[in-house]
Amino acid sequence: METPIISVVAELDEHGLRECALEIIGEGRSLADACNGTLTVLALSHTTGDWLETLRRQDAERVVVIEHPLLAEPTLDIHTAALAQWLAVQPPALLLMSDTVNGHEVAARLAAQLRWAVVTDCLWIKGNPQSGFSAIKPTHQDKVHTTFTCPLGQPLIATLRPGAIGVEMPRGSLTTEIIRWQPALDESLIHARTVEVIPGDPRHIDLREAERIVAGGRGVRSAEDWHLIEELADALDAAVGGSRQALDLGYIPNERMIGQTGKSVKPRLYLAAGISGASHHLDGVNADALIAINRDRGAPIFSRCALGVVGDLYEILPELTRRIREMRETK
């Protein structure tokens, strides 16, 4: 009998591989192991980058880089066509994608074009190609979990909710073969063209969506001084947040509070000024890079940060803001 293939689409963005891509690669690996199959990771790009090295280190038998200059455009017609062409060459038993905005739409379009079964926004995929897959997805505003039984012997497309599975460390025991493949794409495939992508304005977006956050706490002595935090955030294109202390003192509105009883945030950069770092606050912070500025050398935040500065924020913040503005202006 043929070895079943599980395929996974690894989503890339301007920073490289998205975390949700690693999640579904891990999920694809366990599903492939369960049916003695192989795992193929698909990546769409117009150019190569560091992400290829990351993909090589994952536990996949194959990485297929689908390359075409037109893929530089964020137009979904093109991305769907490129994937559809590869999937016609090598149809998998199961295609996993992340249920991101674009992942969801491309999955639905692929299903429609290829006439494959599809379940979106799943939490769990169980089973194997021999006995059939079943998928569990939340419905009714996440108040109900519905189980779908997928048709046997037919390819299935499933999208998985980002963040629901978690990322495991790759075992790194496999040698990964890298295949570069050129689809046949042209302008005539475009029906709805993405002409512009506007990045979010950090001053208005939800903190949970923010890439960078500058947060302040009790160390800011009065509401009149809060502009120090705001100005630094502005210079860094970051969103403003605060601890419970900042909320209680009236520096920030309710929706800007970070921590156990506020928002849980996941930025790439988190700069905490004048926040001691009680667990109630830090439980809500999961940052790639955490920077702390505090006068108290013994503040608990210093044991959790990538870079800690012992000093007075009233001296450091204005100087830092000035330096950053200077650097950005000279460019």
Binding site: V101, N102, L123, L156, G166, A289, I293, V310
Partner: protein, 290 residues
């Protein structure tokens, strides 16, 4: 030439009210004596968007729904909101499925000469977010989903749509008309509907169309095999580093493996100037300031 807009709406179980899952009978139980149904919020956004084009461009708006007898209530609601015509598609659909639903809707929509087909991007109940995409495929129309703002250029037969992406980003998409747009629930700013209009809608005519079921859907159907109360699956996490102390390892696991005590955490003490230099260097290393 008048501009025809078709809006597909769906009646959903009101999920704002407390819901319970009876796992023995496989039924969703609402605490209220009678199940409460409502118009799907994303579909209401689509309807309100169409109404804006009616006010601004004089478009003619037709609403349609596919559903049981009581689904007629959402059509009456849409008429009260200003829709010009309402069609109730009645079918004996034994298993609701996105592809079949789309096919039944497009059979009617194909004959309506619509310049723009609008629908919500996902329903509150089944939440598949597929029907719009499938309809676009069946009608061979350009598709834009997650729309939060639309601009229609009737003379140039062009449409510009703002899509909602992650992290607050927006994408601007342009396409020709006719097109199909799935509207996000975010933009629903429903207007107040007067009692007079509601009463008048009660007596308006709603055309009823019997739709034969789709016997052999081109796309294989995933059957619902059961429902249950939500049970979260355990998240995978990396194993804690062996070099950490037992207490640290426990904290690592209890904290969702999110953070570790970083022994390499760097502490800078010194003058303001030194601190700023160190911070700027850190930003540069991480590509935050290039």
């Amino acid at each position: 030439m008048s501009l025809n807009i078709v809006v597909c709406i769906k009646q959903v179980l009101d999920t704002q009210l407390p819901l319970q899952v009876d796992e023995t009978s496989q039924q969703i139980v609402q605490e209220a004596a009678q199940p409460t149904y409502n118009i799907n919020p994303a579909d209401l956004s689509a309807l309100e968007t169409a109404m804006r084009f009616k006010d601004g461009l004089g478009a003619r708006v037709t609403v349609l729904t596919l559903g049981a007898e009581h689904a007629i209530d959402v059509l009456r609601h849409a008429l009260a909101r200003g829709a010009d015509a309402a069609l109730h598609l009645v079918s004996v659909n034994e298993t609701p499925d996105a592809w079949k639903t789309a096919e039944q809707l497009t059979r009617v929509i194909a004959g309506l000469g619509a310049a723009l087909v609008l629908c919500g991007d996902a329903s509150l109940d089944s939440a598949g977010g597929l029907v719009g995409t499938f309809m676009a495929e069946q009608l061979h129309l350009p598709l834009v989903t997650r729309a939060i703002r639309l601009e229609l250029f009737a003379e140039e037969e062009k449409l510009r749509v703002w899509r909602q992406l992650e992290r607050g980003a927006r994408a601007v998409v342009e396409c020709r008309l006719p097109a199909l747009v799935c509207v996000s629930a975010l933009i629903a700013q429903p207007k107040y509907v007067s009692v007079y209009r509601l009463q008048r809608a009660d007596s308006s005519r709603i055309e009823r169309i019997a739709i034969p079921p789709v016997e052999n859907p081109a796309l294989p159907v995933c059957m619902v095999s059961g429902i249950s109360a939500p049970r979260l699956r355990p998240r995978k996490m990396s194993a804690p580093q062996a070099s950490l102390s037992a207490a640290e390892r426990i904290r690592f696991l209890m904290g969702g493996a999110r953070t570790t005590a970083k022994p390499e955490s760097k502490l800078v003490e010194g003058s303001t100037q030194e601190a700023v230099e160190r911070l700027v260097k850190f930003f540069q290393e991480r590509g935050i300031l290039s």
